[in-house]
């Protein structure tokens, strides 16, 4: 095998033609990543477990947003609002009904899907910039409902009862500390999301999404029902936003609306832009990048605090500035994101030594 990884596509059976990862190098890479994911929590401390869980939750939300923005071509600046819907649905059920998380999380996801489809209604008449502005309005309206939610019986923040963190009757403490236990929940949720979404774009529905993105009028001409599929795209995308929100609610134990403002929507957009639009693995890279960048900066600030006094006072600005700079630089120099950089590296080795 060596460096001669793969020089073309050649299928001899239907099974290999339809498999997601048809080549041995790909399978070995997947196996390595999975093995790493299984070994990691046994050696990591709670700080790293927390980062890993954050990445997994963000990745689920980012994959959801990528379905809408990257695959269907509908720009949404309201993803944070949908995360809030998921988090508060799960939170309210846990607080008022004492429902365990293995029920609240799916219910919250489906409810968010319905809310997402509702706020997707403007997409039937609008596209491009106008739709983006409409989703901005839905974000502001959802947050307003939460902050002035006494009408709906919602307080400004919610504390979830610890007892709600149980899986099929088994309390989560049984698995270990909160970070360690949730690592497995988040990992399973992420793997299921990745498998579902990767396969989604090999089905009739997924192909219809991509057709809408590439040319909506042509899609309509060949029989794609725009009304149905655009709402479906909003619903699917919001389902994963709801899943990410509900996981956040149970993992953190406390939720408040500040976690889901327009800044969150922008954070998720940044993840998929930096990771790669229209790519599942790109969403994960983007989520990891956006989680690790501020963590890296704060570690840097801590180690430099002896040399540079006051650096901790500037840390929030460094993080915010790095966030903005990363978006700008990626868009100018590598608009296709990390996934393209990774592909370039792979291509280099694939074609080596004749890289032309």
């Amino acid at each position: 095998m060596g460096f001669a990884m793969q020089s073309g596509t050649f299928h001899t059976t239907y099974a290999s033609d339809v498999s997601l990862r048809p080549y041995w190098p790909q399978r070995i890479r997947i196996a390595l990543v999975l093995a790493l994911a299984l070994i990691f929590p046994w050696f990591a401390d709670r700080y790293w477990l927390n980062l890993a869980n954050t990445i997994a939750i963000f990745a689920i939300g980012a994959i959801g947003l990528n379905i809408l923005v990257g695959y269907t071509g509908l720009i949404s600046i309201g993803h944070g609002g949908f995360l809030a819907v998921g988090a508060y649905t799960a939170g309210l059920m846990a607080v008022h009904l004492g429902t365990p998380m293995w029920i609240t999380i799916p219910v919250a996801s489906f409810f968010t899907a319905a809310v997402g489809a509702f706020f997707g209604l403007p997409s039937l008449r609008l596209k491009g910039l106008y739709l983006a502005i409409a989703t901005l309005a839905s974000q502001e309206i959802i947050i307003w409902l939460l902050t002035h939610g006494k009408l709906l019986g919602i307080g400004e923040s919610l504390s979830l009862p610890r007892a709600s963190n149980n899986l099929f009757g088994l309390p989560m403490e049984w698995l270990g500390n909160n970070d360690f236990a949730f690592y497995w929940v988040c990992l399973v949720a992420l793997i299921l999301t990745v498998i579902f979404v990767s396969n989604l774009f090999r089905t009739r529905v997924g192909r219809a999404f991509v057709a809408i993105r590439d040319q909506d009028i042509a899609a309509q001409v060949i029989g794609v029902d725009l009304f149905r599929y655009k709402l479906l795209a909003f619903a699917t995308s919001s389902f994963f936003a709801g899943l990410a929100g509900a996981l956040t609610a149970h993992y953190r134990g406390v939720i408040s609306w500040e976690r889901f403002t327009i800044d969150t929507s922008i954070l998720f957009l940044a993840m998929i832009i930096i990771g790669g639009l229209g790519s599942v693995s790109g969403s994960i890279y983007g989520a990891a990048f956006m989680t690790l960048l501020p963590a890296l900066l704060s570690n840097l600030a801590r180690s430099l605090s002896d040399v540079v006094p006051n650096i901790n006072a500037y840390l929030p600005y460094m993080q915010q500035g790095a966030f903005g700079l990363a978006i700008v630089l990626f868009l100018i120099f590598e608009p296709e994101g990390i996934v393209k950089m990774w592909r370039n590296i792979k291509d280099y080795f694939r074609l080596w030594p004749f890289s032309y």
Partner: protein, 293 residues
Amino acid sequence: MDRFIQLALSGIANGAILALVALGFVLIYKSSDVINFAQGELLLIGAYLTYAMVEQFGLWWPAGVVLAVALAAVVGVLIEQLVLRPLIGEPAISVIMVTIGLSSLLRAIVGAIWGVTPRPAPQFLPTDTVTILGANVGVDRIWAFVLAITLFAILTLFFRFSREGIAMRAVADDQQAALSMGISVKKVWAIAWAIAAITAAVGGILLMSIFGGVSGTIGRVGLLVFPVVILGGLDSIPGAIIGGLIIGLLQSFAGGYLPPEWGMGEVVPFIILLLILLVRPYGLFGQRIIERV
């Protein structure tokens, strides 16, 4: 009735500031099809630069204001040259995201220089009030209104009679045709960003006076620009002015007459935004050529 007049006057004054900000936004959109999410940060920069010139460097205030506005214009041109020019021809999402990234970067820079604690407004800004029709109105609000109208008049004249203004209208109308007539589109874009930054800086100074200080909250006003421009029509300059006044009045009345715990003042603009988008997406005065499905 007193309450009505009071609310109406403060609504008009706030609306005038919104109109100023929206004006810059519409100019950029008209000439280069860029939705500028960093408009609020341009406000912030204008306000802080004025604060720095007048309070920190102790300049005579008219000189300080002129210098601050000029610097803001330079920032606007730099943004266009360094950030937006490389993205010509990229899809809408890229252009939206780059201005969002920019807004985050600008906010970080402003925060790193001036910190988060609100700074008091410079002394030269008026703080007294006058009584009009039995309602107390701050002099600063009257200034806001007068300045907005003046700037609007100047810009109208600029677009009608000056060479650059006519070139800008030509580019807004048809880029290809403008290019083939020998108009420098790059120059037009630079002017559009400079004017946007100037109007935003003036808006920022007025907001600094109305809020009684400079802090990050000034940047939040940037989001309100969207209801204004959608209501008025994304590509219409009179639309920006009238849209600004309508949104300002609605905010003022909704906040003043409905129970305060509902906080309707914050959300009403966005409800209007959604309704307008559903019913009449090109707004009151916009061209009816928006992308439709």
